[in-house]
Symmetry: D2
Subunit: 340 residues, 4 copies
């Protein structure tokens, strides 16, 4: 494929995140969105109508379409591994939302089945593409802070998701923290070898009890060379979506800090320099990173260069989640060698 | 016209700002960009090819096109008044880049000629649409700072434009400060009645001497009720495009401050909390305001509601520039009643 | 005098500012506060008792005291010039609160009378000694911002002083702006040659009308080389004492910004990163500068080195105030050559 | 004792921290520093000379002095418990630098021996008195952030102490983290019941190996109700002494952030809004808290009110350090019930 050509993509899944991806695909100058599929036809019809593209009758129709180069998988989590395998079998490139699967065994099976695949498979770890996070990492790589010593990741959602969300999300560590586990690996530059986790039910204890899930958590990850990473998570932050990454090194520090919606600051007899609360949630906060994710994928498809967030990255993040659950249960640091 | 219909627009002028508008018009869901014109055909052809729209052979062809509802005028300044008049004669709505003309008499003639026009005529004072500036003004209107006492406008370009730019720009006050004069009026909420100006040649004195222009300036505007507004301008700011508006009131203050490209902050043995320099220039810094400007215009065309930046706003800003030049010459506060 | 010796100082004036100076003199390791005088004996007695020093019966007793090296004059303004002259006659060093006198003629006479004085005479322009302001100026001197182009001074009191204060203060420009005129000269590095001023009555118009004074003002000062300085003043700032200095140069900018009382920031669903209002007023905000002022004076007395804020600095600041009043009256830029 | 009377205090220990305390005691208006002792007589003589107070020949002389109300213990750690016991036996109030002892058994014995003591015993946890930290805690107590969920404590020294310091400091957790353990308890408002710790040798591995100590550490503390606290420590921070406390609650967040030495911000083509590195170390950074600590102690002595940092607080912080060492060794969360 020549770089100047358009990359032809089909979208599987037309829910909230799928709709966002449809918009982003349409806005990309090198992408042609060929068609969409959703198990709920009215949803796919609506997205298709909006963008003037075809509706596929089934996933099989998608994978059988010789016109398309790639699929973007934004369907329910239990379908991800199957669709990745089908796409690989049909020689399509894949951009798949995280997680690959909630079950690490299934992920490992999928990994075996796609061995030798020559087309790009990219995981939806959009935060890697955030300009601020990326610039922080680049500053570190450029030697601005010397050797890395500590990583502090603050990651808090603005508000509790609805109950139905929890029921299929697979638990806080696999659903929410998985992004932070990935960022931890991305920033540490070497694999975490031990994981400690603790979690609480502080925001809605009755619901969390009933669902056997958590709303507030802290983690410590360490590497063989002694680098340390702390993650803190909360399902609510009254002041908006809180996304901060701090890298402490031998000769300096770099922080990718929150940003306010615009530059207004208020002053009164009560406050000074008061900004607005942060962007409400990921679609607004990570708009640039979702765009850059598509762009990176398109370049990988066009050039067959390595993707910036791989299937293996998706598998490793899930392994960290598994280690964290074991740590939570046994109240100890869990070695990654204990995890399949 | 029903709100659901598309607004059909032709673009006159395919230079840098025209190309930006073409992109923004294309991205707007309620706009159909019908065609483009530029006196330099390769320029119009390139924009037309990029967006798949027609090339008009002449401005007359544009105004004669019964298909279009509106024109966006982004041609050279000397054509603005003629094109506004032609558009009004052809019953088209107009979005015209500032200034209307460099000559206030010509502007006044144009004003006479378009009296009674029933279609929206909007001036390209994009900064009114900036979310931060708008939120600052809204906070004031909402009573957050009580009565307004002082406005401080800091407005500095990142770097000197090329010499050719100056030759047709009409002088610093009419070209650069005109935006700040407009923002002063927008924020003061009443007409400035006296203007004081001073200007220097500090950045490139030889070129400024030769062109009889200035690169560094300060202004004080006052209103009959005693409100005060300071503007400072510079043609260079090493740290990027500097755009700040401060509103001091009886019970508080609100500032629309600069924003950095992303939230990275650096720390070393020399610095702490160091952000990146600001966005390089207006296309990046005011991206949201240019989008909102188009959106506001489209709503005005569709509903015939008043525009948010009118022909009269364009005329008043130019009157302030004229008063400022007289003040500079005579080293005194010039009453606006002295200006035609 | 050897550097190791104590400098023996008498204090004239035990009002609010005098009491503060008494505390600061006592705290200085190289100063011995010998005694105090106030026209209102209970005031001097109280300060004397607090610090265990003598009460002088009259100013003459102070100047006749052979034990003391220096006097700190913090009495009412109309006494300043007389006391400076008496101190010089008695061969005492002087640290005198600003202004020298409200009447420029009187200041000029005083200047003539003290010609040839060999002991340090320092004016109480404490802001020159503020660590932030000083560091900003030093950065400029060190070439960090290249040639200076613009100075922006924001200087707003937290609240209107009581009516009685205005009656003896000599008018806003001589009382309040005089500090900013001094800072303008300190930062510009060359004399302002033209002054433009405007002033309003926005906070308490009835009282200002009655007193023929102003509560809100703006100024523009220029130098022969084209450097520009803007000052804005307000007698109220709901968010605390607002003291900012901005230096724009060819290759950068340095700002001496406000500081909050401590580093607490608040976050809620309404605000983010909200600091406390600024320090209430000058005794708190400029604590470090008042201390450094004393220290600088003591070093000047001990070494006979030049003071950092001289009698001539006091005279020039008053000349700028006079020029500003003329500008306000005649609505024009006033050349400094017009002022005696 | 009446509140108006002076509190008479003797100082034991004239090293760096003792000298600082001597200065602060002298500056306090209600304190009379009666005399000083140091095992190294030239040190005590120097401090005595500087402040004009007596030198005690021995600790016994101090405790036998009927004139004094209280002792401030700033001697080497191994003497603390003995001196506390002696002071209590002599019916003196005590302000003792942390830690009480490096050995928890010794602390527990001391606790038994001073049971029934009626005079104030205050521990030198100065950070509790920092205006920013205190205001953050007060905001939480006032309900500004609702129920507390997470505490994040960032605590990093600017630079590695000299080797000799480590040899007697008792290990990073007992020497450095002990302040953070205390702040954790102070902010959590309930006792941590489980502790997880990890530590590395990243800054000077050879020296840390030799001394069996650490230079980089992370901790997670949890309470029975599920509140979580993270602490991160480093022995170097190139950008200065880094002291931040973040309190996340149900309805908001409050942060006690770092402060720069003054308000200067720099702007160039490389950086914007760049502050200076933070204050170098604790004597500068916590100046206000050391002053307030003395003030609080004096009020406790004068009124016999409870101290704000008690012997028991000192013991509990040491128990947390012990738990952290056990956690580090066994790589598990250690229950506080396991610690004596």
């Amino acid at each position: 494929m020549r770089v100047n050509e358009m990359t032809k993509i089909a979208l599987l899944g037309c829910g909230r995140i799928g709709q966002m991806h449809a918009d982003n695909l349409m806005a990309h100058p090198k992408v042609e969105l060929v068609g969409v599929f959703d198990i709920y036809t009215p949803a796919s019809q609506e997205v298709a109508d909006q963008h003037g593209v075809r509706v596929y009758a089934s996933p099989d129709d998608v994978f059988a379409d010789h016109e398309i180069d790639a699929v973007l998988i934004a369907t329910a989590t239990p379908t991800h591994a199957d669709f990745i395998e089908a796409a690989v079998a049909a020689d399509k490139a894949v951009l798949c939302e995280k997680p690959i699967d909630l079950n690490l065994d299934r992920v490992n099976i999928c990994a075996d089945r796609i061995v030798g695949c020559t087309r790009p498979i990219q995981l939806g770890f959009n935060r890697r593409f955030d300009p601020g996070h990326k610039a922080a990492r680049q500053a570190m790589i450029d030697g601005e802070i010397g050797d890395l010593h500590q990583v502090i990741i603050t990651s808090r959602d603005p508000d509790m998701p609805p109950r139905a969300y929890y029921e299929s999300a697979g638990g806080m560590f696999r659903d929410m923290t998985i992004h932070d586990f990935d960022i931890a690996r991305y920033m540490l530059g070497e694999e975490p070898t031990e994981v400690f986790a603790t979690a609480s039910r502080l925001i809605d204890k009755p619901m969390m009890d009933e669902l056997d899930d958590y709303d507030t958590a802290m983690f410590v990850l360490t590497t063989d060379s002694g680098k340390q990473c702390h993650i803190n998570n909360s399902r609510t932050a009254a002041y908006g979506y809180d996304q901060r990454i701090e890298l402490l090194g031998e000769t300096g520090m770099v922080i990718s800090d929150n940003r306010t919606p615009h530059g207004v600051k208020r002053y009164s007899n009560k406050i000074a320099e008061a900004a607005l609360p942060y962007e409400d949630f990921f679609i607004e906060r990570y708009k640039q990173s979702f765009d850059a994710e598509i762009d990176s994928f398109v370049r990988a498809v066009a050039s067959n260069e390595p993707v910036e967030a791989s299937f293996e990255d998706g598998r490793q993040a899930l392994r960290l989640a598994e280690a964290a659950y074991l740590s939570l249960k046994e109240k100890r640091a869990v070695g990654m060698a204990e995890i399949a």
